[in-house]
Each structure stands twice: as structure tokens, then as C-alpha cells.
């Protein structure tokens, strides 16, 4: 790790001003992705601003939606009675118990790892990301490989998930890293059927053909016969593009079955 100046922010505004004052600063929530990156010397920020003390942790359910503060840990989401089951199951499957005790939803989505779980949940439920500057629809938030709509100095404050009639997430983990080789989130969301896929490509995305099929017939069998072209899918020593293409359909079916 290269050395850096560490700051603890007392609020989002404090974090933003500390970040603005830094030569090349970055914010850190749980650090479960950032610290491994720093350890490999793949990043060299001048300053690291911790959000842990910025008051961004917490879960509120107003009946129509649930809002999860940016620094709420995966463990807290997984254990919360205010969080719908599908979302709890996403949090429960991230990393391992120790990572879940420290990793946060804000950190996960701001990093936008192509194999992260939360991006699929945000897309699948049509969530809204609230930052210190604006609200961003999930559909507009995840842009590309480790890339989001966040501007420099923009900090995620919370994520709001509208209620869905039915929803579930099915994940096929990479056997080594336990990240999603393919994860599929399906929902009968407020604005219709949503299907979101993570792990298969360079960025989590919605699956319009799967959505169309499930809109017409909400059942696993509705996906029979649909094939995913492997051309743009990820391929590595753990799974070829063809295999991932298969997993997208299988996981989608399992998610539909789990959603009921």
C-alpha cells in the first residue's frame, strides 16, 4: 500500500469538503473492496476519507419503500425485518460473514464491480440512489466496468427500493472468489417486470428479452427456448461465455421459482 492521509468525516458535507481539499482523495465506506485494491498498489489516493462516522447508516421502511443508508452493512441489511426478503437474500450472499459485517451497500454500488450483487438488486427493483447532489435512478447509475454516474466529489447517501409484488435473486458464485459468476434478480416491480443480470458482462444490466417473456407469463417455463448470445459475455478460467449464457437462463428461472 502507498501511504495516504486518513480522515474520518463527521457528515456527508464534511466528507465532501475533505475530499475537495485533497489532491487526489477518495471516500471509503467499509473498505472491503478499496483496501484490497490499495494493498495491491493498484490505486494511490493522497487522502482517504472514511464515511463510517458520517451518520449514513440505517434502514427505514415507510410502507411503500425501504431506504438503506449508504454505510449500512450487508449484515445489517440481511438481519433487518424492515427489508424485503429478496433484498435480504442478496445481502446474505455477499462475500463472507466477516465481509458482510463491514462491507456496505454504498461502497458496493459506488465501486460497481461487474460481479457485485447489489447492482442487480438496484436494477431489479428500480431503486433510486440519493447522493449529496441529486437522486439517480438505478437504470442511469451503472454505466460500465467499475464506472457509475457519480461525479467527482459526489457521495452516495442512501438507496431507496420501492416495494415489489414479487422478487427474488439467484446467484451462481464463482467457486474461488465467491463473487457472482452470474446473478439474476427478477421482480414484479412497481413499474412492471424487471430482470437484472450481474456477473455476466462488464456491468450489471437489465435483460429486456427476459423481461418481455416474464411480463407475458410469470413462470420459469416462460424462459424456455430463450438463449443468450455469448458474444459479449465474460469469459475466464472459471466459466466461458457459453457457460455464463446458460447460467443467466438457469438463474433467472430459479429466481422466478423462488419469487413464487
Amino acid at each position: 500500500m502507498y501511504d495516504f492521509n486518513f480522515h474520518s468525516a463527521s457528515s456527508v458535507d464534511d466528507a465532501a469538503s475533505k475530499l475537495a481539499a485533497a489532491k487526489d482523495g477518495t471516500v471509503m465506506a467499509g473498505g472491503q473492496t478499496l483496501i484490497p485494491v490499495l494493498k495491491q498498489r493498484l490505486a494511490s489516493p493522497s487522502d482517504v476519507v472514511s464515511l463510517a462516522g458520517a451518520g449514513l447508516s440505517g434502514i427505514t421502511n415507510n410502507g411503500d419503500s425501504v431506504t438503506i443508508g449508504a454505510t449500512t452493512t450487508h449484515a445489517a441489511v440481511a438481519a433487518s425485518g424492515d427489508v424485503p426478503a429478496a433484498l435480504r437474500s442478496v445481502a446474505e450472499g455477499i462475500g463472507d460473514a466477516q465481509v458482510r459485517n463491514r462491507g456496505t451497500i454504498g461502497g458496493s454500488i459506488a465501486n460497481n464491480d461487474p460481479a457485485a450483487d447489489y447492482p442487480a438488486a438496484l436494477l431489479g427493483l428500480g431503486a433510486t440512489v440519493t447522493t449529496n447532489q441529486r437522486d439517480i435512478a438505478a437504470d442511469d447509475f451503472f454505466i460500465g466496468l467499475f464506472e457509475t454516474a457519480l461525479n467527482d466529489g459526489e457521495i452516495v447517501k442512501s438507496v431507496t427500493f420501492p416495494n415489489a409484488t414479487k422478487a427474488a435473486y439467484a446467484k451462481f458464485p464463482n467457486p474461488a472468489s465467491r463473487y457472482a459468476m452470474v446473478g439474476v434478480f427478477v421482480a414484479q416491480a412497481a413499474d412492471g417486470v424487471r430482470v437484472a443480470v450481474t456477473g455476466a458482462t462488464d456491468c450489471a444490466h437489465r435483460g429486456p428479452r427476459l423481461e418481455a417473456a416474464l411480463s407475458a407469463n410469470w413462470s420459469a417455463s416462460a424462459l424456455d427456448g430463450i438463449t443468450i448470445p455469448p458474444e459479449n459475455l465474460n469469459s475466464d478460467i472459471h466459466g466461458s461465455a457459453e457457460y455464463r449464457a446458460n447460467l443467466v437462463i438457469v438463474m433467472a428461472k430459479r429466481a422466478v421459482e423462488a419469487a413464487g
Binding site: P175, A176, S177, G239, Y243, N246
Partner: protein, 784 residues
């Protein structure tokens, strides 16, 4: 019966320190004035090093020294050595290309050490290492086991034309050819034994410390054999004479073979500590370990079996290549030859066997012994071939094994591939395993699974290994450069406690407990009064260390023999004190008794008398402290039958091991609790190889793709089942304690059991390891 002696599942003496954080591993050791070394390694698989500029690094904050390979040569430090000289075809001994501690002109694998940067802190050393400028010319590389000997392949060493280190053969080719000519049917399988990274959980580490006042050098190091480390660094590397050199292997967090060898970084810590007259510490990152630890396995083979009309094996032919990596490590070519070829008979009476083994150099990390070392490769190849043979013959895999087993009444049995087995009852092991696994009920379970959409399969593995390495004369005649005896010292203290020094080393095996039980059994001393000491060349007599499941079969016998010397001397002292003839003294349960009387003297009293010899027999030396060396007469031959049952989800290729039964013949069990733990761990290693683990280099760039736990899949708790473990012992002729060794069995037996279960589930002929979900999915799709 002695309490807590042989056969007791005594809780381990070493556990309290490990459970309370009081273990003392090499990285826990810090010496006053310590510096830290970081190694600059080649990022290229194969490259010419045109120039190195270390000026900026040397001037960086906190930097104490920057060294390259020439600095060691200038100090007359020798290179790393290969300890094997195996004679191949045409009487030609294997090539052994030289290896500098830090490579100078050429880098031959990703991670090849080039420059050592030593600084006040590790962070400073790492920061400075980035300032080292190395100008490379990249060369084409070759990582392939199968193709590195092809015409036109990039060449690693001038000394190894076509990258061949050794062309070796074993067995009677003409007899095998005749068997195939006469065969009713033949079977053939082509298979890969996947390369593994050993990954002991403790990364390698070393701390060198020099005392310029005494001229003594100490090296704390993650070693399975500290005396061998000292010997190699002294005799071949010229770092320090043995008598001025102390090597300490403190608590070591697993070895599995990877910590047998003397490594570059360890030599640097030892040498630089003297050069700088300051302690020098190195601790491997896990990612450095992936690059630079010796790897294991990595064979490609074609195996064929000739059978008569009854499925009796007439002859077996194996054509194989093994990957040695970029340099030959300590055992290197002896593993795929001697430790592999000599086990190819397995449990069977196959009369004629012929193996050709070509050992090739590649642009990868060196490959050497890893848990099982050659024997897993032999067992996997043979037990796969046996199942393919059963398939060809239309025989049940259990039946074809029974038809070909060496029978218990044929022991001792001379195989056609050197080894002479001294004990074993393979039918008994298989019968017990099949019973425990409910083999007969499998088809009903398979049908039930099918109803749930799952493909269920069952697989057998009847394995044998050669442990207790090894008779020195035998291995010497084959080209292994050391004796493989073991030593022990058993010392009574005046107050009756016993200190046992063993030349073996414990890095998880529980020697401090099991060896104490051995002494308790032999001498009748309470187990809490016996302390086992190992891992320090200044404390113990010379020893060869721990590998090849040798600690108990060889080291344990040395301890028992030292105990017997204690008893023999004790009889003289007791006879004198009790005023009896030495011939009338009997020893048992810790007491010397005059036969037929109630005159008795406890061994603690004898010990006290030996140290306070006021009334003492003439001509007997004071003290009660005996050393014994033991050189075994034969290998030991643990064997057994394992049964694996799996279920595969055809939609995703996900596999679950639903039952695993292990029946092993280890002879006498000293501590059954520890033995069972060794079986479990070996099984995890073997199942890991079969399903999860694979070390992958990119064929084009030579880059290590599986370079961290993010990409190299280690077995986790949720990958494995609970195991059903039991025993079917026979007593070996050659081992005085009746023990055989148990640490490698699971790693040897499990891979074919798992793959045989998979091919059974999928009704296919073969599938290469690791059987990843994608491979299983593809096979399931193809099988319909």
C-alpha cells in the same frame, strides 16, 4: 496397559498455545535491529535481463542495501541445488541446470527473483523496490507440460536441449508389448494430473540473524526439516559452516511438501544478515507464494491396460510427461520417476508394467513434492485406468478390482516395479468400504436422485502408497542424494521428566502428543512428564525432517529404539541397586523388577541414581540419555479403499459429495484422534484437486492466471461433507512399531474416487480434473 500410551486418543499437548494465540511462527519473530527484505521479481515468463539500475532504490528512504545475484556470487555463495540424480534412458543422468539465488542474465518464470531490496521497514523496501529499473527483452515462453519438448519450443536452458531434463523408463517393455499382443481387450485413457499450489496457510518466512561477536548465524525459517536446510545452505551454498549455523523451524503453519525445500529468499536472509550484521526478515505475501512456492503434480499421461477374457490385467503401459518448472528443485525429477513409477502396480497383480516418463522444463514455478508426491499421480492414473478397464469389460468396478487384487496370502509381494509390499489385505478394505458406503443400495439412491433431476454416481479408489521414506541404501542407489534414516534422543532429567529430541518436524501432525504417547508406552512415564523437542538444530541431533509420511514409521522407531537403550542401561543400574543379576531384571509399566520378587525400582529412581551415582555399577557411565538412529529396511505401504458418492445438477454442473467413506490400513494407530484428523485433511486436499484446484498459466503470455485465492479455488467448509472414516489394519513385517504412516493417504486416494464417481454419474469414460461446474455442465449436456 499403560495409560495414555499407544492407542489412546489423547487431546493434543500443543493445542493450548495455538488456541490462545501463543504459537510462535516465523513471522511472529522479530529481532532487535531487524531489517526487511522485499524481492523484485520478473513480471515476464521468459526474458533476457539486459541491465539493472538500482541507484534510485539504493538512495530511497530507509534502504539499507540492494543486492543482485552477482553480489552473492562475489561472496562465493553457491546456487540452489537439485538433490536428485536419476538415471534415465541410455544411462543418462538428469540434467541439472544451475540456478543462482537471484537470477542475473535471464528470467525464466513469472516471479523469478532478481533483486533483493533491504530496508528499515517492509513498506520502505516495497516503496524502493518500485524504483529498481530492469531492462528486459521479452522472449517467447512455454508453459505446456505436453508441448514444451516440441520442435521449435522456446528453450529455457542450454543444458537441457528440447527442454528435456530427463527421459526415464521403468519396467519390461518387451513383456508389456507381448501382453498387449495377447490381450483379449485393452483399455486406454488419456489424462491430466492438474497442477496444484500447495498453499499451506502460513506463508513462507525467514529471519536471519548474525552474531559478529561469536561468528554464529541463526536462521528462523518455515521449514519441515531444519537440519536439511542447514546442510544444503552449508554444504552446497557455502553460506556458513554447519557448526556455526543454527537453523530454527519454530511453529510451522502447515507444509505439505512446500516447506521441504531451500528457497532463494531464505538464503538471502541468512547471507545478508551476516553481510549487514543486522537481522534480515522476509515474509511472503500470499500472491508471492503463488508465484514462488514449489508447485505440485502437473503430469499429462496416456495409460493403457491389456486384459484377458476374465478381465485379469496382463500388462500396463504408461507414456507420461511431467512439468518440472523453470528450475529443478530439491527432489524434482525423483518425484515423477521413483515416487510415481514404483507405485504403478497399485493393489494389483499386473505382471508387466512399462512407464516412460519425460521430465520437461517450462517457464513456470519449479514443481516438486506436494502431499503424496508422485503417489497421487500414480494412483489417479491407475485407478482411472482400472475404471475404464471395467467399462471396456462390462464389469462392475468393484469386481474388476477383486479379480486383480494381490491377495493377503501372497504377502510379501514383489511387484514388477521395484517395490515389495510387506503387508495388506485389499479385499478386506474394499469389502468393509463397500459395506459402510452401502454400495449395494446405490442404484436405488441413483433412481431416487433422478426423480429430483440429479445425476448420482459412485466411485471407488483402491490405493496404495509407499511411506516411511526411506531405506537409505535403496534411495541412494536410485539417485537421491541423502540418507533417509531418522534419529532420536531420549533424555531422562534427574528428577524423572523425559525430554525427547526428534529429527522429524511437526507442522500440524501432533508429534508433541503422539511421540510422547510412544515414550509413555515404552517407558511407563506419565505422558505429562514427556516433552518432545524438534525444529532447532542447536537442540536436537541431526535429523532428516518430515515428509513422505515418515515421522512415525521412521522417526518413531528411532524414539522407541532410544527408549530401549534407556531400558537396557536402566537394567544395569537397577540390578546394582537391587543387588540382583542384570539377567533377572524385568522392565514393565515403568518399573524395574527382580523377577519373581517384590524388589522393584521405578525408572524415575533409576534416572536419579544415574545422575547421583553414589552407589553405582562399575563400568557404567553416569547419566540416562540415549541417542538412536534408525534406517528402515523397507518402505511402509499404507493402503485402503475409498468410496465417493456424488450428485450433479445437470443444469449448472454444481456437484455435491453426498457420501465419502474411507477405509484405511495404517497398521497400528498411536493416537486415533490425530490419525483421523490426518485422513480428513488429506481428503480435503484430494477432493480439492479433483473438484476445485488448478494452477493455470496463460499459454501465450506465461502469466500466472490463478495467482491468488480469488482465482485459485481452495476447498472451504461448504465444499466438503463430513467423512466416514474407519480402518482395516494389517501389521507390516518391516516396521518395529507396526505403523505405516497416514498423512498423505487422503490426498492420494480421493482424486480417483471423486472422478470415478463423476464419470459414473454422467456415464462417460473420462473427465479431467478439476471437475469444475462448467466441465460437468458440458459433460451433462453432451450426455443428454
Amino acid at each position: 496397559m499403560v495409560e495414555n500410551g499407544i492407542g489412546a486418543s489423547l487431546k493434543r499437548k500443543e493445542d493450548n498455545r495455538f488456541l490462545t494465540g501463543k504459537g510462535n511462527y516465523t513471522d511472529d519473530i522479530n529481532r532487535r535491529g531487524q531489517t526487511h527484505v522485499y524481492i523484485v521479481r520478473s513480471p515476464h515468463a521468459h526474458a533476457t535481463i539486459n541491465s539493472v539500475n538500482t541507484a534510485a532504490a539504493a538512495a530511497a528512504p530507509g534502504v539499507v542495501a540492494v543486492y543482485g545475484g552477482q553480489d552473492l556470487i562475489d561472496d562465493a555463495v553457491g546456487g540452489l541445488v537439485c538433490g536428485a540424480s536419476v538415471t534415465g534412458k541410455g544411462g543418462e543422468v538428469n540434467k541439472a541446470p544451475p540456478r543462482n539465488v537471484l537470477t542475473i542474465d535471464k528470467a525464466r518464470f513469472v516471479g523469478d527473483p532478481i533483486i533483493a531490496v533491504i530496508a528499515e521497514t517492509l513498506a520502505q523496501a516495497k516503496d524502493a523496490a518500485e524504483l529498481v529499473e530492469i531492462d528486459y527483452t521479452e522472449l517467447p515462453s512455454t508453459v505446456s507440460t505436453a508441448n514444451s519438448d516440441a520442435d521449435g519450443a522456446p528453450q529455457l536452458h542450454e543444458e537441457c536441449p528440447n527442454n528435456v531434463a530427463l527421459d526415464w523408463e521403468l519396467g519390461d517393455k518387451a513383456a508389456v508389448d507381448a501382453a498387449f499382443a495377447a490381450a483379449h481387450k485393452t483399455a486406454k485413457v488419456e489424462l491430466i494430473n492438474n497442477r496444484m499450489v500447495t498453499n499451506a496457510m502460513e506463508p513462507r518466512a525467514a529471519v536471519g540473524e548474525y552474531n559478529s561477536g561469536t561468528g554464529d548465524l541463526t536462521l528462523y525459517v518455515t521449514s519441515q526439516n531444519p537440519h536439511v536446510h542447514r546442510l544444503v545452505m552449508s554444504a552446497f551454498m557455502n553460506i556458513m559452516p554447519e557448526h556455526k549455523f543454527r537453523v530454527v523451524a519454530p511453529d510451522v503453519g502447515g507444509g505439505f511438501g512446500s516447506k521441504i525445500f531451500t528457497y532463494n529468499e531464505e538464503a538471502i536472509c541468512a547471507w545478508a544478515a551476516k553481510k549487514l550484521d543486522r537481522p534480515v526478515k522476509w515474509t511472503s505475501d500470499r500472491s508471492e507464494g503463488f508465484m514462488s512456492d514449489a508447485h505440485g503434480r502437473d503430469h499429462v499421461s496416456t495409460a493403457e491396460m491389456a486384459m484377458d477374457a476374465d478381465g485379469k490385467f496382463l500388462g500396463m503401459r504408461v507414456d507420461s510427461k511431467s512439468n518440472m518448472g523453470a528450475y529443478l528443485q530439491l527432489f524434482s525429477v525423483s518425484i515423477p520417476t521413483l515416487f510415481h513409477g514404483f507405485l504403478l502396480a497399485g493393489q494389483y497383480t499386473t505382471p508387466a508394467i512399462y512407464l516412460e516418463m519425460r521430465c520437461v522444463m517450462t517457464n513456470t514455478a519449479p514443481v516438486d513434492a506436494a502431499r503424496g508426491a508422485g503417489r497421487p499421480e500414480a494412483t489417479y492414473l491407475l485407478e482411472r485406468l482400472v475404471d475404464v478397464s471395467a467399462r471396456e469389460m462390462g464389469l462392475d468396478p468393484a469386481e474388476i478390482r477383486r479379480r486383480n487384487f494381490i491377495k493377503a496370502d501372497q504377502m510379501p509381494y514383489q511387484t514388477p516395479v521395484v517395490q515389495c509390499y510387506d503387508s495388506g489385505d485389499y479385499d478386506a478394505s474394499l469389502d468393509k468400504a463397500l459395506g459402510m458406503a452401502d454400495y449395494d443400495g446405490f442404484s436405488a439412491r441413483q433412481a431416487e436422485a433422478k426423480g429430483r433431476g440429479k445425476l448420482r454416481g459412485i466411485g471407488l479408489s483402491s490405493y496404495i502408497e509407499a511411506c516411511g521414506v526411506a531405506p537409505s541404501a535403496a534411495v541412494g542407489s536410485l539417485g537421491v542424494g541423502v540418507g533417509l534414516w531418522e534419529s532420536a534422543q531420549v533424555r531422562f532429567n534427574p528428577t524423572g521428566g523425559v525430554t525427547v529430541f526428534t529429527g522429524t518436524h511437526s507442522h500440524g501432525q501432533g508429534h508433541e502428543t503422539a511421540f510422547a504417547q510412544l515414550v509413555t508406552e515404552r517407558l511407563g512415564v506419565p505422558v505429562e512428564n514427556v516433552e518432545v523437542v524438534h525444529g532447532d538444530t542447536d537442540k536436537g541431533q541431526f535429523g532428516m525432517g518430515t515428509y513422505g509420511s515418515r515421522s512415525l514409521p521412521v522417526g518413531g522407531v528411532a524414539i522407541a529404539n532410544a527408549c530401549d537403550k534407556i531400558i537396557a542401561k536402566g537394567k544395569k543400574i537397577a540390578a546394582h541397586t537391587l543387588e540382583a543379576s542384570e539377567d533377572d531384571i524385568e522392565f514393565g509399566d515403568g518399573n524395574f523388577t527382580v523377577a519373581g520378587t517384590d524388589k522393584v525400582m521405578n525408572i524415575a529412581e533409576v534416572a536419579f541414581t544415574a545422575y547421583v551415582p553414589h552407589n553405582y555399577p562399575e563400568g557404567v557411565e553416569p547419566g540416562l540419555d540415549e541417542i538412536a538412529f534408525f534406517d528402515p529396511l523397507n518402505f511402509s505401504f499404507p493402503a485402503g479403499a475409498h468410496v465417493c458418492e456424488v450428485e450433479i445438477d445437470p443444469d449448472t454442473g454444481t456437484l455435491e459429495i453426498v457420501n465419502y467413506t474411507a477405509i484405511d490400513d495404517f497398521g497400528v494407530l498411536v493416537n486415533p484422534m490425530i490419525v483421523e484428523g490426518q485422513v480428513h485433511g488429506g481428503l480435503a486436499h484430494g477432493i480439492g484437486q479433483a473438484l476445485l484446484e488448478g494452477c493455470v498459466y496463460d499459454e501465450d503470455s506465461g502469466q500466472l492466471i490463478s495467482g491468488s485465492f480469488m482465482d485459485y479455488c481452495m476447498p472451504r467448509a461448504d465444499n466438503l461433507p463430513s467423512f466416514n472414516v474407519d480402518y482395516s489394519p494389517t501389521i507390516p513385517l518391516h516396521n518395529p512399531l507396526g505403523v505405516k504412516g497416514c498423512g498423505e493417504a487422503g490426498a492420494i486416494a480421493a482424486p480417483p474416487a471423486v472422478i470415478n464417481a463423476i464419470v459414473n454419474a454422467l456415464d462417460i469414460k473420462h473427465l479431467d480434473m478439476p471437475a469444475t461446474p462448467e466441465k460437468l455442465w458440458r459433460a451433462a449436456q453432451a450426455a443428454g
